[in-house]
């Protein structure tokens, strides 16, 4: 498109370093975003393989391919990697880092060096976790929640792994700090708050959650390490402590953390729908404010993870009520998305197909969340596969599908190349099918009483587990098609123009891939996003 006077992209223009150093020492938000994406998806694949092995173990009752101890280690490491190394940094540090300055017409993030530092913290944390798997007492076997008292007593390498997660927490806080300051300070002239793209709004809310929640995780993990090293006894009833305090502290962070995972995913979905329905977004302000209200009410619901742990009835009722309240803004978003598509001229390209899959899976996850959030039913399903199913519908069906949608949507911008559409559509359909075959049976297994985290099960649960394991293979096939298509297209894809989808936000006004400082001239904004020619 801009063929004749195409500018040098940020890949070509050097930064004083060569080779790998031009990446790991770069303060360019685009390079850091790609560093994050590359490292996150590498870890993602490791965790996927662990997940597949676990499913394979569960294909039939009794031991199949591993011991119970290694199963415990596997679901712990699967959880730790997926949560702390993939899905929490996921969209904000990867796509957010890359797209935020482009979407608000800035040259970089507010603190480029802190941005790079956060990636280094991330990598150091990751390396510490990897080291913890092979040294000391072996990989941790506590589950990703590190619940006391077991996490204090177990001989496995919990201290080191927890230290790694602590470093990841610092990385996440720094990212949040950068996101919020950038949005406050670096918007292009004329880009008022209510002219910002909604992905930016969601990153803004996410940034605040990262700033306000992550320190609590920090101190929780610090306490756990101290407890193992010095034996303070804060969580040990024999010495006057209380193990419930650990659960409280842990969930004060970890419930808001699910919004670090899901809010930016919602932001991506909100970007994609107007572009492929050729209609402006329905309820712009409602979506913006629902992000903020999710972020704020989300602080007050952590107790719903502890309904069966021992709490007064009053507090349980309040936590349950607030949990229902926090579902409302998510519902508002879903209705807005659907209303935005209504009577649009919809083009079902791969980004939109992923998005629609997201809406379906997210709604299923959300509705089952209400079953879990209600006190009476929670007691019934709390310790079962129902939770596992709900969680994966939210995190994989929700966040990861939106992540894939975003990757397909912004792929031409990031790499300047276009992927092949047919395999992309196929991969989405295969992923969607595999996902449901894998996780839907878990709802039923859960209702029938299959307990979670178990290595073995009664023969009457066999059918469900078998179907689920087959689903995991379909899902893996879908992932393979998708990544093959994408990686191949990075190298030999057709050249994409600067705006292949006809998007109306600022990132589409610069060339693909963008030049070193994003814009030759800082754009001046005169109207809100999502204005399309009739």
């Amino acid at each position: 498109m801009t063929g004749a006077q195409r500018e040098m992209s940020f890949y070509e223009s050097g930064n004083g370093h060569t080779g790998i150093l031009s990446w790991v020492l770069s303060t360019d938000h685009k390079r850091i975003g790609l560093l994050y994406l590359f490292s996150m998806f590498s870890f993602f694949f490791v965790a996927v393989i662990l997940g597949l092995l676990m499913r394979l173990e569960l294909i039939a009752p009794g031991p199949s391919i591993m011991t119970a101890e290694s199963y415990n280690a596997m679901f712990t490491v699967h959880g730790v990697i997926m949560i702390f190394l993939f899905i929490i940094p996921g969209i904000p540090a990867g796509l957010g880092n890359f797209m935020l300055p482009l979407q608000i017409g800035a040259r970089d993030m507010a603190f480029p060096r802190i941005n790079l530092m956060s990636w280094w913290f991330y990598m150091t944390g990751a390396i510490v976790i990897i080291v913890s798997l092979f040294t000391g007492g072996g990989p941790p076997d506590t589950g990703w929640t590190f619940y006391v008292p077991y996490s204090i007593r177990t001989g496995t390498n919990v201290t080191l792994a927890v230290f790694g997660v602590f470093l990841l927490g610092i990385s996440s806080t720094l990212t949040g700090l950068n996101l919020v300051t950038t949005i406050h300070r670096l918007r292009a002239p004329g880009l008022k708050w209510f002219r910002m793209p909604l992905f930016v709004w969601s990153l803004y809310a996410t940034g605040w959650v990262q700033i306000l929640a992550t320190p609590v995780l920090g101190i929780t993990l610090l306490l756990l390490m101290m407890e193992r090293l010095f034996g303070f006894g804060f969580f040990d009833p024999a010495r006057g402590g209380d193990p419930l305090l650990f659960e409280h502290l842990f969930w004060i962070y970890s419930h808001p953390a699910v919004y670090i995972m899901i809010l930016p995913a919602m932001g991506i979905v909100t970007e994609i729908i107007p572009v492929f329905a050729r209609r402006t977004i329905f309820g712009y302000k409602a979506i913006a404010f629902s992000s903020l209200s999710i972020a704020s009410v989300g602080y007050l619901v952590w107790g719903h993870h502890m309904f069966t742990s021992g709490m007064s009835d009053i507090s349980r009722v309040i936590f349950s009520f607030l949990t229902f309240i926090v579902a409302v803004p998510s519902g508002i978003k879903v209705f807005n998305w659907i209303a935005s598509m209504y009577k649009g001229s919809i083009k079902l390209s791969s980004p939109l197909l992923f998005t629609v899959s997201f809406i379906f899976l997210f709604s299923l996850g959300g509705l089952t969340g209400l079953i879990i959030g209600a006190l009476a039913t929670n007691i019934f399903v709390h310790g079962t596969y129902f939770i596992v199913a709900h969680f994966h519908y939210m995190m994989f069906g929700g966040t990861a599908f939106a992540f894939f949608a975003g990757i397909h949507y912004w792929f031409p911008k990031i790499f300047g190349k276009m992927y092949r559409e047919k395999p992309a559509i196929t991969s989405c359909i295969v992923l969607f099918a595999g996902f449901n075959v894998l996780y839907f049976p878990m709802f039923i297994l859960g209702l029938e009483g299959m307990p979670r985290r178990y290595y073995d099960y009664l023969p009457r649960f066999h059918t469900g587990h078998l179907i689920s394991t087959v689903g995991s293979w379909i899902l893996a096939a879908g992932l393979m098609i998708m990544f093959y298509n994408l990686i191949r297209s990075i190298f030999i894809g057709e050249v994409a123009g600067s705006n292949p989808w006809g998007g109306s936000t600022l990132e589409w006004t610069t060339s693909s891939p963008p030049p070193h400082e994003n814009f030759t001239e800082i754009p001046v904004v005169t109207e809100g996003p999502y204005r399309f020619r009739k």
Binding site: A110, T181, G218, F232, G233, G240, I522
Partner: protein, 204 residues
Amino acid sequence: MNKEHSLNKKTDYTGSKQGMWMFLFTELLLFTGMFLLYSVFRSRYQQEFHAASSELSRTIGTLNTVILLTSSLTMALSVNAIRKDKNKISLIFQGLTVFFGLFFLANKFFEWSAKIHHGIYPNSPGLLAHGKGETMFYGLYYLMTGIHGLHVLAGIVLLLIMMVLTKKGSLNSDSFVRLENSGLYWHLVDVIWVYLFPVFYLIS
């Protein structure tokens, strides 16, 4: 709307300050977690907390409070001096702040070693024999003053870097936001101590 835009400037003063304030907030939240533990255990072991608190030396506690408050004054004076282009004087005040910080840590060191000498430290048989309430009190005492001490140490290192930068002239009346941010950090550490002091030393 936005008078002079921050987009093309090299350093964004307001942006740096804003980032620093948010960072301070995360530090505050880190301590909030510990204060949460403190309030739970204090309400559970009222009597024991009173008894244990009376065994801490109020003299050293008060002395340390005075030292830190004074250090905040010298810190503020150093920022004030650099604003007025008096780099030498700023450097002296920074040095004084570092000195007070070290003085504080030295006191803390003697206080801790006396207690440890008496067999009072986490997981010690001496402490466990005192019962649950005192175990929790001293656990919190070591945890919170310990982590606070680490923050003082971090502040000292930060200020030493600032001293080098001032000496080199890269901190001056045109660009002093890094010193100002270090000052903010120092004040925060100070403010946290202002809360730690009464909850440990003055509740008996």
